[in-house]
């Protein structure tokens, strides 16, 4: 064993607190980096990966059963450009009722014998594939929002029982549910059609998909294809969500790295400063400066390596359940951490530690032997005495005023610890703020509790499978009367949907014409005002961007061939139709009638009971009520878990940083501590002094951290929104009240005090005789 290794070994043994702090900080930083890195990797093109993993269908086509035979469809697999095909599968619209007896909107069910091979190889999330009559597999991640553990439940179709045997996810969104071909044929409710799933050799662009579609159509009787869905449209819709996580992960990743560097730098610099004498002795014995520096870097790298290993294991363990959540969000089937993420994170962490330690220990290398040996014999430079003088005037107990002035004696260390506390407080502030913002976004989407529409009826000759427009109510006034009279109604809005075009924007747009006394409550304005009459519209940011318009501008809409000049009176936060929806008053679009009513219930009203009662009341007027799903979005769930976890980690790291500093301070002041005690300072007064020594740093760090946290929250939430083209209403951005801000500011103080508790206890227990002998 070389002399250098011996010195390193002895150093690690001697400085237990520093060693543990470095190990823990690295462990936590690596845990969050593995977690964040894996999620970043998972967020890279999740749709494309899921689609690739499943060999998704580039084109999902519907065919009229009367115009084409199964053999013809099977033969279309050899059309030009078709790489693979699956089908034909019989599909139909089926009305399911969940175990609670609540009917669902009609679902597109396909009869398929297996989970897919060449095309649309769907992932079974739960249970198994349907193999016998009376069995059904539900699709998650599409129209249906399913709670966990649905497999095994008994549902009904037209009163007949059906067992949910599995839950599957299809990146191609080829159906809402699947059953055996024979079973589907038996559910002869609505009309049926054939479904074919195609993969093309080239499908990267709209033109290529269109070319493939044309080739398929050419191979089949004219008019056989009744509808088709390109994978590019599904992709567009899917990737919006996933973009949101990235700025968030970056923000947390940066916080984590900066904090780890700060604390490790602080620990090493502290270790160097408390052992200047030791360094002097080493140098006097003939160690070169670079050997001394290496000794310190080695002292940091040993616990850092152990910490990195522990962190990697913890990160992997944590990542698995969270990936299950992002799988839900992204539609992917990632099962664990990519090995290279572990390798990069561990390697990166050790490099960061080594560089930080090198920088912090450089002073030890530069220290002249004589100076180092003289330390302890010369009086301290006496920095920060002004603070001691100032605090001594405060009308509070002397131990507290003594402690308050401590940080000013070592300003550099104080600043770095303020920074660590600030990051901890920033993390908490940011996490809570972001969570609140996302929940507010969710709330905006969840203002209505109940939806009123036409009854779900599956009659022969009814509508064809596939998306369809809800029918307008023949007598809206009658429905409004029922809703308004229903006990528990807080407000309602009638909505008519139509297609329009707007000057300057390519393609058809969704128009929503609203009516009702309090329709404004269902929208959150970003700027401008709510509608005050016909001829006005409010739109979202993406519409304004696309049209190159501003609030106050006029624009010409075309509705059913008629030109309608309107004024944009407001900008609203409305993510429907990717933000291209136009909201106006009913009268603007002429003779349209509402097809849906959205109803909010008074707070304290049981929405389920209300929905049932309203359905009963609406029956005579030909309508029924559905309770709207308010379960939190997967995205919000993932973000909430991550913010909770990461801010907890950053807070712990900040606390460890404080602890290390206070341990250092206590060691450096052990002699003064002995003097205080000899003069009659009680253990309680000693504890008070040590705790007081972190109050100033805690308060400043807390205040700064809160400010950083607020800034970060605003930047990240705004960035998240703008990455998908939206601006946010004030209610989503301004989430902190002054009361909350004070609480977050105090979080810094709490971190500091908790971090100081342990060393304060040690200080209180130090024996005077021992302390005074340390000369």
């Amino acid at each position: 064993m070389s002399a250098l290794t011996r010195v390193v070994r002895a150093g690690v043994g001697r400085k237990r607190v520093q060693t543990i702090v470095i190990g823990l900080v690295v462990a936590i930083a690596v845990t969050s980096a593995v977690l964040g890195g894996s999620l970043m990797v998972a967020s890279q093109g999740p749709f494309d990966r899921a689609f690739g993993q499943q060999r998704g269908a580039h084109l999902t086509a519907q065919f009229d059963v009367g115009k084409v035979t199964e053999a013809q469809l099977a033969a279309s697999a050899s059309a030009a450009g078709v790489a693979a095909a699956a089908g034909p599968f019989l599909t139909a619209q089926v009305g399911l009722t969940d175990p609670a007896g609540h009917p669902l909107p009609p679902l597109n069910v396909a009869g398929r014998a297996d989970a897919g091979n060449e095309v649309d190889r769907v992932d079974l999330v739960e249970g198994r594939w349907a193999t016998a009559p009376g069995e059904i597999v539900l699709a998650t991640g599409g129209h249906l929002r399913l709670p966990p553990k649905v497999a095994g439940e008994q549902w009904t179709i037209s009163g007949k029982p059906v067992t949910v045997v599995g839950v599957a996810r299809s990146a191609s969104r080829s159906a809402d549910a699947w059953t055996t071909p024979a079973q589907l044929a038996a559910w002869a409710e609505g009309p049926r059609s054939y479904q074919m799933l195609y993969r093309f050799t080239e499908a990267g662009t709209t033109e290529q998909v269109q070319a493939g579609k044309n080739a398929v159509q050419a191979a089949l009787p004219a008019g056989a294809m009744t509808g088709a869905l390109s994978w590019l449209d599904i992709r567009l819709e899917a990737i919006n969500d996933t973009l949101l996580l990235v700025p968030f992960l970056i923000a947390f990743g940066l916080l984590g790295v900066v904090m780890a560097v700060l604390i490790i730098g602080n620990v090493i610099a502290g270790a160097v400063s408390t052992s200047t004498r030791r360094i002097g002795i080493l140098k006097a014995l003939g160690f070169t400066p670079s050997q001394v520096v290496r000794a310190y870097v080695g002292q940091a790298l040993i616990p850092a390596s152990v910490g990195a290993m522990i962190g990697a294991v913890a990160g992997n363990l944590l990542t698995i359940p969270i990936l299950a959540q992002t799988n839900e969000l992204y539609g992917t089937s990632d099962s664990g951490v990519a090995f290279w993420v572990d390798a990069v994170v561990i390697g990166g962490a050790l490099v960061v530690v080594a560089v930080t330690a090198l920088a912090a220990a450089a002073r030890a290398g530069r220290l002249r032997s004589v100076d180092a040996l003289a330390v302890g014999r010369t009086p301290r430079p006496g920095r920060g005495r002004w603070a001691t003088r100032l605090t001594s005037r405060l009308p509070i107990p002397r131990p507290v005023t003594l402690g308050l002035a401590h940080p000013f004696a070592r300003p550099v260390r104080a600043v770095s610890i303020i920074a660590a506390i600030a990051f901890g407080a920033a993390a908490v502030t940011f996490a809570v703020g972001l969570g609140t913002s996302l929940n507010r976004v969710q709330e905006v989407e969840d203002i209505a509790d109940v939806q009123v529409g036409a009854p779900h009826r599956m009659e022969p000759g009814g509508p064809r499978p596939g998306p369809r427009e809800p029918e307008a109510f023949p007598d809206p006034a009658a429905i409004e009367k029922v809703i308004a009279a229903q006990p528990g109604t807080a407000g309602y809005m009638g909505v008519a949907r139509g297609e329009i075009t707007a000057a300057g924007i390519v393609g058809e747009l969704d128009a929503v014409a609203v009516t009702g006394p309090d329709s404004a409550r269902y929208y959150r304005m970003v700027s401008g005002d709510w509608l005050t009459g016909p001829g006005q519209i409010i739109v979202s940011t993406p519409f304004l961007t696309a049209a190159g318009k501003q609030v106050g501008d006029s624009i010409v809409l075309t509705h059913e061939g008629a030109q309608v000049p309107v004024t944009i009176v407001g900008e609203v936060f409305n993510t429907d139709s990717d933000g291209m929806q136009v909201v106006t008053e009913l009268a603007t679009l002429g003779s349209v009638k509402p097809s849906t009513y959205y109803v909010s219930v008074l707070s304290g009203t049981d929405a389920s009971a209300y929905t049932q009662a309203l359905t009963k009341a609406l029956d005579p007027v030909g309508a029924m009520a559905d309770r709207l799903d308010h379960s939190p979005d997967e995205m919000v769930v993932v973000v909430n878990i991550l913010t909770g976890l990461l801010s907890l980690m950053l807070t712990v790291v900040a606390g460890l940083g404080v602890m290390n500093t206070v341990v250092l301070e206590t060691r450096e002041r052990v002699h003064d501590l002995g003097v205080h005690k000899a003069l009659g300072m009680t253990p309680r007064q000693t504890t008070a002094m040590v705790i007081a020594s972190v109050v100033v740093t805690g308060v400043i760090g807390g205040a700064a951290g809160t400010a950083i946290g607020v800034l970060l929250q605003r930047t990240v939430i705004t960035e998240m929104a703008s990455s998908v083209g939206f601006r946010l209403p004030a209610s989503v951005v301004d989430v902190y009240g002054s009361y909350e801000l004070v609480v977050f500011g105090l979080a810094g103080l709490v971190i500091a005090v908790v971090g100081a508790l342990l060393p304060a206890g040690w200080a209180a227990r130090t024996r005077v005789a021992v302390a005074l002998r340390t000369e």
Partner: protein, 230 residues
């Protein structure tokens, strides 16, 4: 005869290794005495002083000061005992570098809960009495050794202790300053202050002490009070 101010009864202090630092020592000190403890380095002088000050506890035996069983006090109680009854002066002054002279002197009173202005008045008066009042706002680092020790004595007297303990108060001083501090202690004693001082300087001890105790290897080798009685 009045009750003794200090009563050590069969006190032994053993450390983890080596022979006991104090071995079965019994000693009593009357109020108003000025006792000098003499002995070579390592003979247990400081250990004895620490036991009296409640800074350390005997392994066996009892220490009673001013009616208080010092060996039985907990940490907090011994701190309160020190600030109420004991003034401590050390060889290396042990002034707090970051506090001004006045703040150093005021500290024991402030730890006992005295208000700043009251403490300030008393500190000024003490510093005046000890002739170092012009340094009140200076930091200890600026003062000479003798001046520092005077400040330390002022600090020790701040709470009007029943007992002034000094551990080699002249050990770090040149001869002139040493004599000066000795004279100061004699004056305090003349004013009625009970003093226990540790030194290995026989001349100085005899000049200001009414009684001398010699320690050797943790035991009392001779006690002038006993000799007088003999």
């Amino acid at each position: 005869m009045s009750t003794p101010l200090i009563e050590l009864h069969q006190v032994t202090r053993r450390y983890d290794e080596g022979p006991p630092a104090l071995n079965d020592v019994s000693l009593s000190v009357e109020p108003g005495e000025a006792l000098a403890i003499l002995g070579p380095s390592g003979s247990g002088k400081s250990t004895m002083l620490n036991l009296i000050a409640g800074l350390d506890r005997p392994s066996t035996g009892t220490v009673t000061v001013d009616g208080v069983r010092v060996d039985e006090l907990g940490e907090a109680a011994s701190a309160r005992y020190r600030r109420a009854r004991i003034g401590l002066v050390f060889q290396f002054f042990n002034l707090l570098d970051d506090l001004t002279v006045a703040d150093n002197v005021m500290l024991p009173a402030q730890l006992a809960g005295m208000g700043r202005s009251t403490a300030e008045r008393r500190a000024t008066e003490l510093l005046g009495r000890l002739g170092v009042d012009r340094h009140a706002t200076a930091y200890p680092g600026r003062l000479s050794g003798g001046e520092r020790q005077r400040v330390a004595v002022a600090r020790a007297l701040m709470n009007r202790p029943a007992l002034l303990l000094a551990d080699e108060p002249t050990g770090a001083l040149d001869t002139a300053s040493g004599e000066d501090v000795m004279r100061l202690l004699s004056e305090l004693h003349a004013d009625g202050q009970t003093v226990v001082l540790v030194t290995h300087d026989l001349v100085l001890a005899e000049r200001c002490a009414t009684r001398t105790v010699h320690l050797l290897d943790g035991q009392v080798a001779s006690d002038s009070a006993m000799e007088l009685l003999r």
